[in-house]
Amino acid sequence: MIHNLPWLFLLLPLIVAAIDWLWFSKCPRTAATLSTLSAIATFALCVAYLNGWQTGTPDVYTWLPVAKEGMTSLSMGLVTDALAMRMMLVVTGIGSLVHIFSIGYMKGDTSNLSRYFAGLSIFMFSMSTIVLADNLAMTFIGWEMVGFSSYLLIGHWFNKDSAADAAKKAFITNRVGDFGFLIGILLTLAVFGTITFAEMGGKAAGIAPALLTATVICLFCGAVGKSAQFPLHVWLPDAMEGPTPVSALIHAATMVAAGVYMLVRLQVSMGTEAFTETACITIASVGAITAVLAALMALQQDDIKRVLAYSTLSQLGYMVMAVGLLAGEAAMFHLYTHAWFKALLFLGAGAIIVCCHHEQDIWKMGGLAKRMPLTVLCFLMGTFALIAIPGFSGFFSKEAILHAALETSPVFFWIGAGVAALTTFYMTRLCLVAFCGQARDHGAAEAKEAGPTMLLPLLALAVMAIISGYGFIADFLVPYAGFEAHGFELGLPFYVSMGSLVLGLIAAFIVYGCGKRKTDPLAGNALSTALRKRLYIDSIYDKGLIGGIQEYGAQIIEFADAALIRGMIVQGFAWLTAKIGMLLSWIQNGSLRGYALVAGIGIIIFMFILAFTIPTI
């Protein structure tokens, strides 16, 4: 019985979500407390498991039994290895902090908070399903469920058109990737004969490389959607329309990392030999392209959350690149540190936004360092981790990725270094503009320190952002079996990343000074407009792809509707009936003699039949 306790990771949040929604939809306080308690309970359970409290494997339930020989029944089981359980620690840990933060952040919000917390609980359930799933079908269920909960939470303020649109955009963009993922799962079933992770090992050797490549790339499509990689990255920046804690939990720390987690899970269970060279180059290139493009677009964003969103994209690109370079260990290391410091940055941004009366434009902030020093300090800790200042967590994980890149492919190493310089530049820009100088708007001028429910999660995350990269803690917590942090070592990656760090810092200080400027000195030229407009990718999708599909799709549907259904079926039958009616109507000409004639002929025919064809009895 007790070995089945991991099912609680799934059931607890699910039950709480149902209770929140069904019974407590009118009392948000109770709903919030329940959700928060369930998140903390799963976190405690997770900590207990990691301390070796219980090691049994939970039961596997057969979900869809298949009686035929040679076919696989679909089952529901949980994996409780280090990769899964340590990932759960990140999910439930950040989840708990976000729940607590939400209580402070959503105070005074007039929308239905029970719905909000029920959404968070559903998300915790779905994310746990992805992390703990022991087969791809179950992963896929969780995959769709996180998409759904993300839809709910992005569209929480659905009265705003932009939020409703962003929710739709996120869901639909994800469907594109999910379709590839589904094909990938079916291919896996066909190629490997199983979709259970534990049974995949060692089977890749006897399979044609082309098939392997196709399978892996199709599965990768799912990660492209969920982890917002180029060309499906467009939904993530728009997803910032949701409440900020949601952005922190779903769109920075956990859900968007699910793609990376899934790829690493596959790499671990299929074995790296399943990732053929072509597949690896594709994955790494997509990651690298995303990292570069997103970092460029982040340079000219004015919305504090959007800067962070593009930075998330860029860091996810890093992780995907590492997976493509077969450095799953480094990818998971970065995922883990990134989860802590990016959640910290988002929650910090959330606290700043609330305290500036829901102002998100950094050019209307300024001077916040004096007004809310503790929040700004926490935010700075996150920033230092993100731009990889030595000693902070991000430094170690970024170093790990750069090391792996240098060993495998120098091109990706230099791309990574360039992105690091860009990252430093845009984060320094954000901090200088928002925190230094004088307040540029009354919202920032009246800002006060955030309340305790917001500050406590910030402080906890700030501690993790600083220490989570060191070996004494990373060795136990990084979601990868047998992870060992490589100590700090001097070498080319170190010098290059220091170089890009210093370069970015100096450039940002030269351009933005100490927050004295009122507007962005880089704005105005064609390049910065292009970056501001997200390199026109969104408009191309809107006008070219969606517009085109709608235009031509509408024409096809118009044809089917007007010509086939309306023309041929509906009007066709009417026309046919009318014609037959016209044809027959001359019989009903109202002439008595005509009727008599027809009756006479009828009688004669009747008599003829009676007399000559029916045999006599």
Partner: protein, 105 residues
């Protein structure tokens, strides 16, 4: 004794003339008379059959009873039919069947 076929041919001719009159003529009174003629044609064939089926010179009376019934019904029909024609003439000042097309228009 006149063979049965002669009666039947006569009855057929009479019936055909009646049918042709019903179909061709416009005047309702003539149509009505033609209808009567067709009934008579049927009567003739009935009586002829009755005689032909007879045994030892005694006809089968069933058919003749039927003929009597037809005569009685024809008399009743005439009464109703003529009344209808009179009513129609009063309403329309005409006994032409081609004027009976109110429902069509």
């Amino acid at each position: 004794m006149t063979p049965l076929a002669h009666y039947l041919i006569f009855s057929g001719i009479l019936f055909s003339i009646g049918l042709a009159g019903v179909i061709i003529r416009k005047n309702i009174i003539v149509v009505f008379m033609c209808l009567e003629m067709m009934l008579s044609a049927a009567n003739i064939s009935l009586v002829a059959f009755s005689r032909a089926q007879g045994v030892n010179g005694i006809p089968v009376y069933d058919a003749q009873v039927l003929a009597l019934f037809i005569v009685a019904i024809a008399a009743a029909e005439v009464a109703i039919g003529l009344a209808l024609i009179v009513a129609m003439f009063r309403a329309r000042k005409s006994v032409e069947s081609s004027t009976l097309n109110t429902l069509k228009d």
